[in-house]
């Protein structure tokens, strides 16, 4: 059966040569090389669950009166979008499961991308010839964050309404083109009925299509260049060591897909996320203390809370305070990520191609920089929830904010310094180990060349 089908296709497309080479393709085995796969598989699950949700979701803000099975909101006036989300959550069989799986899959997608990218950074996998794939990856991260924002802004609950208004204020603050961008994007001053269909179109067509296309490019580049190897026996610049695609890698990877799917189903079924019915419908005059965006935007929120009210005019035109932490700062972070492989070249003056990775301790400066950046983001993440933290610790919000304004510089500096020292200590220990054994492998060579 399989053979006759294969023969039918092969006699028309001459695929045997390609398929043979593909099955013999070698993928290195290391747990950290699965992180990108986890992201890929979460994206697949996002598409599967998202298609199901799109069958029930209504992208309009037409006011309606709710009469569904969630009685606490019976008779409440709300947007049609919010009613459809309640309908999915309470009246569609398995609807809540699918909706929660969709949200959890989005969180795992982003978490996997970020950890994957951290692995690339700390092992210097972005070096020549892989700068292009780093750029594709950073673009994927930005698209994933944007689509997460569009997604949770569409539900029409109080929390998503607040998030939409803050997004509007950030875009509006951009000098010169801000008001134009805002009107193209939101369709007017929010809240306005035109916004939701735009978010919906972006969330389900434009951004997923871009993500899918870029994932394709990402994988094609990996296929073309072959994966990197950690230093080790036979793992040289000219050889790749690992498992073949068929059968061991295929079985393992397919297994990983099901395990990621299982984790998301478990979380979607048993761990509540974004209970929109508790927040109530969006109402422009209602307030929601203790509101935070999803965690992947928490660092921007934190920057917005910590940044002082700096407000100035250029030739009579206003540059609002929210522009710096809300737009300029994240934009700069992404620009730095984009150009990092090229900055690293200028620092290390190493322009050669590399297929063997560096261990974090072999590149103390880069490791320290990465740890400091992560610490910076974690402090900002805390600052993004400073009201909740203050409430939990019985502290005054203003005092906590002043403290965080100091910590946001002190903690990254300390983290960077400590990780630098750990790298040096580790490197010395490995060097003395290797000196005793007297083996001149690639790692040793790398060690003497770096720094």
């Amino acid at each position: 059966m399989i053979e006759s089908t294969a023969r039918f296709v092969d006699s028309r497309l001459r695929l045997s040569k390609f398929v043979r080479r593909a099955m013999n393709h070698v993928f290195p085995d290391h747990w950290s090389f699965m992180l990108g796969e986890v992201a890929l598989y979460s994206f697949v699950i996002l598409i599967i669950t998202g298609v199901y949700l799109a069958m029930f979701f209504k992208d309009t803000t037409t006011p309606v009166i709710y009469h569904g099975s969630y009685t606490p909101l019976d008779g409440v006036k709300m947007a049609a979008a919010y009613r459809s989300v309640l309908h999915i959550s309470f009246d569609v069989p398995a609807g809540l499961l699918i909706r929660q799986m969709h949200h959890w899959a989005a969180d795992i997608f982003l978490a996997a991308i970020i950890v994957h990218q951290a692995r690339i950074f700390f092992t210097a996998a972005y070096r020549k010839p892989r700068e292009l794939n780093w750029i594709v990856g950073v673009t994927l991260l930005i698209l994933a964050i944007a689509n997460g924002y569009f997604g949770y802004s569409m539900c029409g609950d109080l929390l998503s309404g607040a998030g939409m208004r803050i997004g509007y204020a950030i875009l509006l603050s951009v000098p010169v083109i801000g008001p134009w961008l805002t009107f193209i994007f939101f369709g007017g001053t929010v809240p306005v009925a035109a916004t939701l269909p735009r978010f919906f179109a972006l969330h389900i067509f434009v951004v997923p299509a871009l993500i899918a296309a870029l994932i394709g490019v990402h994988l094609l580049i990996i296929w073309r260049q072959l994966h990197t190897n950690f230093p080790g026996p036979q793992r040289t610049e000219k050889l790749i060591v690992g498992s073949r695609l068929w059968p061991s890698y295929t079985l393992k990877s397919l297994g990983l897909f099901f395990l990621v799917f299982a984790l998301i189903a478990f979380l979607g079924g048993l761990v509540q996320i974004d209970p929109v019915w508790l927040y109530g419908p969006y109402n422009p005059v209602a307030i929601l203390p203790g509101a935070q965006p999803d965690w992947y935007l928490g660092w921007v929120e934190g920057a917005m809370r910590l940044f002082p009210g700096v407000n100035f005019r250029i030739g009579g035109y206003l540059v609002p305070e929210v522009f710096w932490p809300g737009f300029f700062f994240p934009a700069m972070m992404f620009v730095l990520l984009y150009v990092w492989p090229f900055i690293e070249k200028l620092i290390s003056l190493d322009f050669r191609p590399h297929n063997v990775l560096r261990w974090p301790y072999q590149q103390p400066f880069c490791t320290a920089l990465g740890c400091a950046t992560l610490a910076f983001l974690v402090v900002l993440e805390f600052a993004g929830a400073d009201d909740v933290v203050a409430l939990a610790g019985h502290a005054h919000v203003g005092a906590l904010r002043d403290l965080l304004r100091i910590l946001v510089f002190v903690v990254p500096a300390a983290t960077g310094a400590i990780s630098y020292l750990i790298c040096l200590w580790w490197r010395r220990r490995r060097a003395s180990d290797n000196a005793g054994l007297n083996i001149g492998n690639e790692a040793m060579e790398e060690l003497t060349q770096s720094q």
Binding site: F183, M304, Y317, R401
Partner: protein
């Protein structure tokens, strides 16, 4: 690794293996097929059995009428009658247990059958070896885990994972069709998928040949000869194109038109910011209305309290929402030009935060500070809502007020500035 084809690792061909190994393999294949059949059969038998039992039990419950508690109840401790949903859920749970039990038993049976075959083989092998002269190779076979043992352990583990998968898959379908809860659905789906994933991973670990593969890497860049050849072809094509200027002109013109189309289409999406951004919302003489659409008078508030007001005809509007407060007049520190804006200590400010547009809905009466719940900016009510802490830089726009002869509050003019977050052209 041979020199001419480094992409191929050394696998023993069929002829290289010992004939005894081949018979073991063949017998094992038969045994495996048999045990799978057995497994499937037992599973099906048990599944049908428990389904029939479950349906029978449900039917009995329904025929017994609700007031009478069912006689046979496994889990019940109290005598309280339970709702139908609870019953359905306990039924689902019981069926799940049955299903899992059935699949485990099926796996057990099939593994036991496989075990017997392997045992027989090992005995035969030993007998054969005892008769023959022992070779070094054979002795090595006994050290570590033998391929047969590995096969057996792997098969047991994979069968268990598949049993979990089958049980949970059955559970998911049953719960879905009987309208069970999302938690049970999610749990079963997770177990089903975890079983499938575990089976594949275990399969890869135990039941596939483990060989580290080594392959050469090609250089990332094209060789100078390759790129030179490509450049020659490209340049000859460019030379072949007649009237190159016309082509360039077409390109520029076409791109320009397409850009113009895109910009024109964006106009339909609300290209230019309209005047609403600059609007000061209130007009002179408009009455202040509460959320329930009644006019607000000079007696509406006591000093130290606040309320939400709107212009007449814009109740509930996001942009027009205004906070009305009353403070003791001797506390006021308004700038000189706003001295007449606060009759009887009544102050009105835009309720839209100048930082990021949230509703500034919290008021600390002791410090006379308005606070935004989103980013914790604070505004001093007594001093024209100037920002005193947090990220906001601009004061909340103030609404001048006056009271008419009946004591009804009116807007003296629009807000002192357009309300809401700042933008490039903000006056």
């Amino acid at each position: 690794m041979s020199e001419e084809n480094p992409n191929q690792e050394k696998r023993p061909t069929a002829d290289e293996r010992r004939p005894a190994d081949r018979t073991v393999e063949r017998d094992l294949r038969v045994a495996r097929a048999e045990s799978w059949l057995l497994f499937g059969g037992v599973l099906l038998w048990k599944a049908v059995g428990s389904l029939v039992k479950g349906i029978g039990r449900t039917a009995r419950k329904e025929s017994m009428q609700t007031p009478h508690p069912p006689v046979e109840s496994d889990f019940r401790k109290s005598e309280e009658p339970r709702s139908l949903e609870q019953e359905a859920e306990s039924q689902a749970g019981r069926l799940l247990v049955h299903g899992a039990e059935a699949s485990f038993r099926a796996a057990q049976v099939s593994v036991a059958a496989l075990d017997a075959v392997i045992e027989k083989h090992e005995q035969r092998e030993q007998g054969r070896r005892a008769g023959e002269s022992e070779r070094a190779e054979d002795r090595n076979l006994d050290q570590g885990i033998s391929p047969l043992r590995q096969e057996r352990v792997g098969t047991v583990l994979v069968a268990c994972a598949i049993a979990v998968m089958a049980a949970a898959g059955f559970g998911f379908l049953f719960i879905y069709w009987t309208g069970g809860s999302n938690m049970l659905l999610g749990g079963n789906l997770a177990l089903f998928l975890a079983g499938a994933g575990a089976a594949l991973v275990l399969w890869s670990h135990w039941l596939t040949a483990h060989k580290e593969a080594v392959a050469p890497r090609e250089p990332a860049a094209s060789s100078p000869r390759e790129s030179a050849a490509a450049a020659v072809v490209f340049r000859s094509g460019v030379e072949d194109v007649q009237r190159r200027r016309l082509l360039t002109g077409m390109g520029v013109l076409g791109t320009g038109f397409i850009a113009a189309f895109v910009v024109s289409l964006m106009k339909s999406m609300g290209f230019a910011p309209d005047t609403t951004l600059y609007s000061r919302v209130w007009q002179r003489g408009q009455r202040l209305m509460s959320l329930d659409n009644t006019p607000v008078s000079i007696n509406s508030l006591r000093p130290g309290s606040m309320m939400l007001v709107f212009p007449e005809g814009s109740i509930g509007s996001e942009k027009a929402q205004t906070v009305l407060l009353r403070v003791r007049e001797d506390l006021l520190r308004l700038p000189a030009e706003r001295k007449n804006w606060a009759p009887e200590g009544y102050l009105a400010y835009s309720r839209v935060c100048t930082h990021a547009g949230c509703a500034v809905g919290m008021y600390e009466t002791t410090t006379h500070l308005l606070m935004c719940p989103c980013h914790q900016s604070t505004f001093d009510v007594l001093n024209g809502a100037q920002p005193t802490g947090g990220p906001a830089a601009r004061p909340l726009p103030q609404l001048p007020l006056y009271a008419d002869s009946q004591g009804i509050l009116h807007a003296g003019d629009g807000f002192s500035a357009p309300p809401g977050p700042g933008f490039w052209g903000m006056p």
